[in-house]
Symmetry: C2
């Protein structure tokens, strides 16, 4: 198996966590006799500083020329006063759009070993296994017109979806659900928003092609509550872009730390893989970052871009093992003993 991976480490803790993730990928390649190559590129704040652009052309070319893109994190407080189009985050939104992946998969899994790290009661999180399918290229993130008019002191953003955009992401949700517990919960605000009405009608139509999958609709406000009350009720959760952003972070409390959460974006020219956590500038360089989100993201590369399901599981099991053995980074140590980013990476490597 040959795989060319573009590694865009980005800002803050991005470089330190992607380093551990690529180490694991190298180990998998060696164990399985695969040929993985890595190409590095600049993105985000570091790219602005070095080239003036949050997504330099060289990075985009390298990404488009690869089989998978592993992105660390973007975001740097020093750009906080700039408008959205000039910030590090613009590089992330641009590469998402350029690669074309529209279905962002975000698993939210409860780890028994981490149940004490969750603010939720252990009996609430037990055996929870949710897969968010977040639409990633539509809605308020990309809708035009958008502006902040400093003369009139008015700002607007546009939430926009077409039927086709909803169909394609809904199909992915139903396909995935049919291989899991056969339930899709679609989230919207159809009692207020026209966009949500289109969303609900379209998802209902797509559901007809998947008679073995149950579809339920939830309003986003109720969902924000239900997913804390009885997370076990959910299997695949299908959302538009912003609702998925909010709800998948919220569901991070089921796992216990944002630092544990991986994501994969599929459906486009090149798949894009990112841990869910941000650049966390406050802990960058201190060895406190949790590399497990990035390592689990590497497992998603194996699954979704290399078709190496067994290797993906092996990495996930290695993560379970180190957690069961009691190793913790600071974010999940609850004030107890913790190991560094690098040590955690090594432990996972050994467990493999």
């Amino acid at each position: 198996m040959r795989l060319k991976i573009a590694v865009l480490a980005g800002d803050g803790i991005g470089p330190e966590v992607t380093r551990e993730a690529t180490n694991i990928l190298r180990a998998v390649a060696e164990l399985g006799g695969h040929d993985f190559t890595f190409v590095e590129g600049l993105i985000g704040g570091i790219a602005i500083t070095e080239t003036g652009s949050p997504l330099p052309k060289a990075t985009l070319d390298a990404a488009l020329d690869s089989d998978a893109v592993l992105l660390g994190a973007v975001g740097d407080n020093k750009f906080n006063s700039l408008t959205p189009d000039k910030r590090p985050e613009a590089g992330l939104l641009q590469i998402r759009q350029a690669l074309g992946g529209f279905a962002n998969l975000r698993p939210s899994t409860a780890y028994k070993a981490l149940s004490a790290s969750s603010p939720l009661r252990p009996e609430v999180t037990e055996n929870v296994d949710i897969l968010f399918v977040r639409e990633l290229l539509g809605g308020l993130y990309f809708g035009a017109p958008r502006s902040w008019n400093k003369e009139t002191n008015e700002a607007i953003n546009t939430m926009r979806y077409t039927r086709d955009e909803v169909v394609r992401v809904a199909r992915i949700a139903f396909e995935l659900a049919s291989k899991r517990r056969k339930k899709v919960t679609s989230v919207d605000k159809a009692n207020v928003l026209e966009v949500s009405q289109l969303w609900r009608a379209t998802v209902t139509e797509v559901a007809k092609d998947y008679p073995d999958v149950t579809l339920e609709h939830q309003l986003v406000d109720s969902m924000a509550m239900h997913i804390m009350n009885i997370p076990r009720n959910f299997d695949v959760v299908l959302t538009e872009n912003l609702f998925g952003d909010i709800l998948s972070d919220e569901a991070g409390v089921i796992t216990g730390s944002l630092g544990m959460l991986p994501s994969a974006t599929i459906g486009g020219a090149v798949n894009l893989f990112e841990p869910v956590h941000g650049s966390a500038p406050d802990i960058a360089g201190t060895g406190k970052a949790n590399p497990l989100g990035a390592i689990l993201t590497a497992a998603m590369i194996l699954r979704h871009s290399a078709n190496l399901e067994q290797d993906a599981r092996a990495v996930e099991q290695a993560v379970h093992k180190v957690l069961d053995e009691g190793y913790r980074t600071a974010d999940i140590a609850r004030g107890g003993e913790s190991i560094t980013t690098q040590e955690m990476g090594k432990r996972v490597h050994q467990a493999l």
Copy 2:
């Protein structure tokens, strides 16, 4: 003290919970020698069925002619296939707009007696006392253009805010915070949305007039997580319309049941008071509805429209008392013994 209250009971459990709330208001009037009068009006699904409109003119006139409006709940599954402008919810959005209140206050309080009803650990919810200030007349709810074009299969909604709309609601948040724990957390998505950048810049400016209040900014996705992890960190939480809708429902898990949550909308011609819960058609008429949200909403009428702070507290303490004594409606009984809507109302009355 004279007060004319328009009671718009609405759909589902609306009538049964507002009945208990008005009973409590009558008791307060009697005890304190106040003169409270009640005028009833139709709104929501029941108004559509009886008059063809979700907000009949007679209702609007009665509301505008009153000192305070108490609204039960709107929403009925039988209108689910209609577009937003024809649904029961349209009546709610129209009356919100007509009354002009732009600051929706939603307290999220932990009750020790109910801590077992929350999916959160008791040590997480202990002493939590958050006040959401949700902007209620702007954003995606009211922004134009909005449409679902069935020819092009495209739908749009518009998120729009002006500086003035942000200033006025921010002032209310800071005023309230200065009488509480002196902290405002403003929620936005300023790394992506221009509207959020206007929001953040404006709130930062308003904060200068309140040097004794600390302002922090949180991105809505992180906030959805933080508010579950360490809810005690928050005092006043200031949000735009949709973010407040989502986050305040989410924070309902701190209290343990949506059925417990009151709200008050201030700043307009006539204040509007609504329990946060919906019409819950599945339990309407079964005596299972929790009237405490509506009763606590009545307390907010006393506080914000009658300036009867002591009476407001007395009602709130009566609610605490019945809960401490172990009385529970079904939603907070955790499978144990429960009393009916009406019995709960009576218990609070007695505790007064």
